[in-house]
Amino acid sequence: MDKVMSNKKIIALYVLPALLLIMAIVYIPIVLTAYYGLNQWNGIGRMKFIGLDNYAALLTDGTFWKSAWHSLLLAVFSCASLIIYLAVAMVLATRIKGANLFRKIYLIPMLLSSVAIAQLWLRIYHPTNGIVNSVLESIGVANPPAWLSEPKLVLFALFIPILWQYAGFYILIYYAALKNIPASLEEAAKIDGASALQIAWKIKLPLAMEVIKVTVVLAVVGSLKYFDLIYVMTDGGPNGSSEVMASYMYHTAFRAYDFGYGSATGFFLLVICLIVTWVIRKITAAKETIQYS
């Protein structure tokens, strides 16, 4: 068994194509980004090597840390929302009537591009004729806030569509994971008199644990480098109150023509992702991989 399953030639054949591809297409840009970060460069003229100056400046850049904080907040909210998605997937994975239909409908928002979602939510949040404020006014709120221009509210107002946009993605993954659990295990538990809640908690959850861990990492990394809706809906404003790391990177590199600094920001974002992911792995590694026995 071991001999067959450690055949070097086959391993190389299986892993190398994908590995070489990401080396060429993802890692070279990563390395170059780190290098650009060591330069003063507007992206057009000559590069001037300035060592770690950009990175040092980044450490004391209040705007960057503010945007890092916003990204981190998004990561926390994303992780928290995973619980809801998991619960929904659990309900859908039971064989209640119409589950199949509900599941399909729930995933529809995921099909829309960010452009469409941003346009929809801009209309929902519109200060005078948006759905939210129309409803608030009709129930007697005198002067409902302009959601996307209030510095204190804007970030949370943006979180809602972001979380909503990804709901389908996680529900889909959880659903597939739960469906992947052999039905025989559930049947056996039922015969032993376990309730639905017990089955969910004691059998399904542990078996889906690996997938759950993965989704936590996906949610965190996805949040830390999140860009799309924020860029379209507020462009990081007003006054940077919805700026996140990726939008800050974009603004410095492509708007302010400071490509060196922008690259340093991009690379720093990667480092932050690494640290956070490492911490998550440490925390979740405590539990052993569960195998069917």
Binding site: L13, Y14, L16, P17, L20, L21, A24, N42, G43, I44, G45, R46, L122, Y125, H126, P127, T128, A146, W147, L148, S149, E150, P151, V154, T234, D235, G237, P238, N239, G240, H251, F254, R255, A256, Y257, D258, F259
Partner: protein, 441 residues
């Protein structure tokens, strides 16, 4: 058997990927133009990148295609290859292309601060020889200067814009309002409108340059055109009492609810919609908006007929005069320094600019940077009036974000949004401007 087949398949895939990654494709998509020499009889391809997609800039797109077709007919050896992107994507792509030194032969650029890094990076070719030739004296005075660095011109402007305040005549009439001459009268209008529950001014300040127009005008009217120019140029300071006063005035407009609700979260499109929907009475915007109030059939005629304009009023005791405008040339055409068909590209630019001037007036309803005789054309009165205003302007201050270097422009725009959102004091606003401008690039 089975296993061998799969191994071979995988290996092939591996190799294919490698070949794709390492092998230089010889399909000939690489270079920026066909490599043949430049003699007139040989085939030449000129790459032309612009930002007038058919869907939304139908007028401009049609003109571009018309000009290209005519040019190709007149020059049978020349093929013009277009690439069209929307504004935002255009700017990004230009950036990426220039980092790899792969600019198109001819492209669209903005003036002053936008153009400077490209000139310093030696990517744009000087085209003064065109200005000395057929195009001599064809441009409206002051337009080509905005594209000059160290006395050499690097692009030829296509449009020229100034920014009036458009207003809704019906709303003004309803509340017995007169076009204001002074800032005091203007504030009176704001008060009347907001007391009657009408939003006085449409503004989408998510885009930031929209709010910048208001600051620029107040600065011009209070501190005077020269003080403002000096402060932006770096020889003066934004701490000048008049300029600080202008920033204060912006905040007092915000306090008096002069702008539509939530303006800092609205894009220019959304802000403008309030004006088009007759929910807001005024809108300060460039003359590129003219077609919407003159010929654009998608907008109801009753509304178009109701739109007038007035000049930004003078401020009592201020140094600015009423014929001083904020505006400037819009986009211009550059020729790439590294183009292999530079001479052909220049000839095309010259042709394009000339034809554009003739056709854009009637075809797109915008004001070209080249001189046109409007007397022979049948044009809407609003267009004529603004056209004449432009010709008697005492000075034209270039849009701040175009004028400043990219980095300082970013600071300026961010500060504008903060100023309108009352997140900075006028003093801090001035301080940050001086800092950004002193820092350069």
């Amino acid at each position: 058997m089975f296993s061998k087949k799969w191994n071979v398949l995988l290996l092939t895939m591996c190799l294919a990927l490698f070949a794709a990654g390492c092998g230089k494709s010889d399909s000939g998509t690489g270079g920026s133009a066909s490599k043949e020499g430049t003699s007139a009889s040989e085939k030449v391809t000129i790459k032309f990148m612009h930002l007038w997609p058919e869907g939304v800039s139908a007028g401009q797109n049609k003109i571009v295609n018309q000009i290209i077709n005519d040019y190709q007919k007149e020059h049978e050896n020349v093929t013009i290859k277009q690439e069209v992107l929307d504004n935002e994507q255009y700017k990004n792509k230009l950036k990426v292309l220039s980092a790899s030194n792969e600019l198109p032969d001819v492209g669209v650029t903005w003036a002053a601060g936008f153009l400077k890094p490209y000139v310093e990076g030696n990517l744009f070719a000087p085209i003064d020889d065109l200005l000395g030739g057929e195009l001599k004296d064809k441009f409206v005075a002051g337009t080509t200067e905005a594209y000059a660095v160290d006395d050499k011109t690097y692009a030829l402007p296509l449009e020229f814009n100034i920014a009036p305040i458009y207003y809704n005549k019906a709303i003004f009439k309803k509340y017995n309002l007169e076009v204001p001459q002074t800032y005091e009268q203007f504030k009176g209008i704001l008060k009347t409108l907001s007391d009657n529950g009408v939003a006085p001014i449409a503004l989408g300040n998510k885009d930031r340059w929209t709010g910048s127009l208001w600051y620029m005008y107040l600065a011009d009217r209070i501190a005077g055109q020269k003080t403002l120019a000096d402060a932006i140029g770096g020889s003066g300071s934004f701490k000048d009492a008049g300029l600080v006063q202008a920033a204060k005035e912006v905040q007092s407009l915000v306090d008096s609810n002069a702008f539509v609700k939530g303006f800092n979260g609205l894009s220019n499109e959304e802000g403008k919609a309030e004006f088009l929907n007759e929910k807001a009475a005024m809108y300060l915007m460039g003359t590129w908006e003219l077609p919407n109030y003159t010929t654009n059939e998608e907008i109801p005629k009753e509304f178009r007929d109701n739109v007038g304009f007035f000049k930004f009023p003078t401020v009592e005791g201020g140094k600015g005069d009423i014929n001083s405008w904020v505006g400037g040339p819009g986009v211009g055409l550059f020729v790439s320094q590294n183009s292999e068909v530079k001479e052909e590209a220049k000839a095309f630019v010259q042709y394009f600019v000339t034809k554009w001037g003739e056709q854009s007036v009637t075809g797109a309803g915008v004001i070209p940077a080249t001189k046109v005789d409007t007397s022979a054309l049948d044009l809407p009165p609003l267009y004529i009036d603004l056209f004449n205003e432009m010709n008697k302007a005492s000075s034209i201050t270039l849009f701040a974000d175009v004028q400043m270097p990219a980095n300082a422009a970013e600071t300026h725009l961010n500060m504008i949004q903060a100023l309108f959102g009352k997140a900075v004091s006028p003093e801090k606003f001035s301080e940050e401007h001086d800092k950004a401008i002193a820092k350069g690039n």
